[in-house]
Every structure is written in structure tokens, then in C-alpha cells.
Amino acid sequence: MQVEALKCKECGTRYPLEAHYACDACFGPLEVLYDFSGLQAEGARRRIQAGPDTIWRYADFLPFESQPQTALAAGVTPLIRADQLAERLGIGELWIKNDAANPTHSFKDRVVTVALAKARELGFDVVACASTGNLANAVAAHAAAAGMESYVFIPADLEEQKVLATGVYGTNLVSVRGNYDDVNRLCTEISGERDWAFVNVNVRPYYAEGSKTIAYEVAEQLGFELPDRVVAPIASGSLFAKIARGFEEWLEVGLLTGELPIFNGAQAEGCSPVAVAFEQGWEICKPVKPDTIAKSLAIGNPADGPYALELARRSGGSIDAVDDDQIRAGIRLLAETTGVFTETAGGVTVATLAKLAERGDIGPDERVVAIITGDGLKTLDAVRGSFETHEIDPTLRSFEERVAGAPLAT
């Protein structure tokens, strides 16, 4: 079977496939090690195409011996050809991967689906997470669907929509007086004292694997072809690095041919430790105190920052940052040209895409995919006041005067 062990990304030490996330020898992150040498591309492709309309169609590339049963799955979200946006930005071929179209409206359904299936397999009764909001929604919902108890830890200043869309599932919701990095530190401490599956702490090596399915879907939806460039947001950097890993695995087994796409990371200026490290030529990130409307990306101490930097450099890409006004404009631009309403993280991604296009980084013949990770209904404050509403009396005259702009003909 393909799933071999957990392996330290820093020193290579191997560990059994248990709830273990940091190397005992050097504290490096552990990740799932596979052996795909026995996997034939044609057989894998047939299993994918005959599989369910969820991430489990890619079960050959996920860390399970056999395909788990999950109550609330995720994935197979639309890949939308965005011709109007492409024209506006001067890009040859542009696609939007709309991961807002998941059960709890963000890409976090993918990682949580994998994490909860693994938590069950490892015998955990309780799942938990540290979250900037989208993960909170997903853990609460998937735990409810699976009949598991859950604890969700969030920063106290989170958007109201994300708080409401978590509590409704009946989780134990814990609002921590601090920022996300404080919440994360606390959860790391708690994970050492409680026998819980913290999806993004002690079962993080499995959880992170879920993000690879975005790459698999993009490639499959393009007819088993690679894009030339991927633009994706960076918070911890895990999603960014794992999308590349997904493409690399399919190149390795022969489901794809060609070269790894160029990877461009997107951050908000108010929390841009990875973009700053990229610009400065650093291999590691200096932590920051976040201050941005893009709260789902507000991780000042990004765990996978070094790997995101390495990927951007190795693929010939970059990591850029955009300010809050550009983020708001990015949300509007995507909505007006594609009909997709994204949250602030998507605004960061679209604004970064626009910045790359303006800078001349994107070649005229490139096929570009932008990863939209979450739904605009979760961050309504970002667009409040950004457009005009015509308020009128319920009369034809009022409509003609105030909306159509001309007095009623007599």
C-alpha cells in the first residue's frame, strides 16, 4: 500500500502513522510519506473518474488504507473560466477555482474531511481546532455530522458571521482574548494535556493532505493538464505548499506531464510575514502582529512559511502583499466579472492577481488559475458601503426620477 509513515521534513526521521506532528529530534514538521511506485497512471485515472463527487475520488493519494465513509464530504467545486476578468486584467486564459462552493463555504471542508476521518480511525472521540473562522465553521459542522464532540477556539475579535456559523452546529465554542497566534499557542499547549484530535495541531500532517485535492481537481477539470501559473493566498503557507505537492505527485505517477506551475502567493499588507521574507531574501519568516481586514489570513507566525518561500522561489513565482483597499476592490472586481462573491482572503488573491498582471509578470499565453478559498457572506463588513442603493417610493414616478435618471414623460 502507498501510505508508509510520517516523516520529518527537516531531518527525515520516520514515525508510525499516529497523532504526531512535530519531530522529537528537531521539532520539524511531520508529513505523510507515500510510495506511489506501484500505482499505474491508467488505473488511478479510472478510479478517479469512477469515484464519488467528493475529495474521496482521490483516495489513492490520501493517507488511508481504504476509502473512509464521511457524513459530510467536500470538494469537486467549480473551476470557472473567467473571460471577463481575464480581459479586464489583460490575461490570456484565466480560471477561478471557487472553493466557496463547499459544505461550509471554504476550502477548510477539504482538510477537515481528511482530519476527522483520520481522527476516527485513530480512535479519538473529541476533535478541536484553533481557527481564524473558516476552520471553525468546518470543524463544528463536520463534527456534528459525524456525531463527535468538538471544541473550537477562535480569537475574540472574529467576524460575527463566522462566529454565528460556528456556534449553530452545537460545538463548544471558546473565544480567546488574543489574536490567532495566541489561540494557536494555547491550543498547542492544550493538545499536550488532552487526548483530543486538534485538526491543525496533532493531526495536522493528515489534515494538510486535504489541500492537495485542490490541485487534483484543477488538473482533472482542465482535462488532466497543468495550468502555467497558480495564484493562491498564504496564511500558514500549508495550502500553498500542498497544492504544489498535489501537482508533483501526479507528475510523479504520470497522470500529468509537463512542469510544475509558477506559484504566486498572496498576503495582506497588514499581515505579510511571508511576503516580507520573500522580498528580503530570508529563508524564514519574522513573526508580525496582524492588523488587516483579511482575518482568515491573519497568521503572524506562519508554520509553513519556510516551505512557501522555497516553493515561490523554486517555481519562479513570488509572494506579494496588497492593502485593505486593494482587498475590497479585489472582492468587487471578482464579483462584478465572474458572479463569485468571495471573502477577504479571495479579495487578497484577486488583488494580487491584478498586481501581477499590472507588473507584467504574466505572459500573454499563460493559463492562470486563481484559488478562491472562501465565501463573501462570511465577511460582509468588507463590502458594506462600497455601493449605492437606490431607495424609492413604490411609484413609477419615483422609479423614473431616482433610478432611470429622467423625469416621467407627460
Partner: protein, 91 residues
């Protein structure tokens, strides 16, 4: 009074299973860690490399990341909590 060091599960094998260790007479985080290294063989190599912390090791004084303070030169006093944690969580 002393400085209390919170030991993460990953290091408890080298601290004989202890989850909290008291360190006396240390004025900085660096001196606190030196005190630990003297007491527990093998601890230094786990978290330090070439005189600095390894890149996936986070150290906090009363909940604040020492990189926002003065790093290993951050001053500590009696009653402070120093927490060592892996940096690979979250997101």
C-alpha cells in the same frame, strides 16, 4: 521563587517525563535554557543549533513570543513562565 519552564510533550523524554521545570538564578531566556541544558543531557541538540534556536522552535515568556522581545536576551524574573513549543501548528 524561580522561573518555571513549561516542557512540551516532544521534550519530556529528555526531562524524565517532567512537564514543568523550575530554573533558579537566570536573568535571560538564554540563561534559562543554559540551565536546562546543564540539567538534561541531550536537550540542547533537540532545540538548538549553532548557538541559536532551531527554526521550528518557539519560545514564549508569559505568553509573548521572544521574537517580539529581545530573543534569547529577553530578560526574565522570578515568577515568569517560559514556554517551549513546536512551531509547526496552525493554519
Amino acid at each position: 521563587m524561580a522561573i518555571t519552564v513549561k516542557i512540551p510533550t516532544q521534550l519530556r523524554a529528555v526531562t524524565g517525563g517532567e512537564s514543568e521545570v523550575a530554573v533558579e538564578e537566570a536573568a535571560t531566556v538564554g540563561e534559562v535554557l543554559d540551565g536546562l541544558y546543564e540539567r538534561f543531557e541531550n536537550l540542547r541538540d533537540r532545540i538548538a543549533e549553532d548557538g541559536d534556536l532551531r527554526r521550528f522552535v518557539n519560545v514564549y515568556v508569559d505568553g509573548e513570543d521572544i521574537r517580539f522581545l529581545d530573543g534569547l536576551d529577553t530578560a526574565v524574573s522570578d515568577g515568569d513562565d517560559v514556554t517551549i513549543l513546536p512551531a509547526v501548528a496552525g493554519g
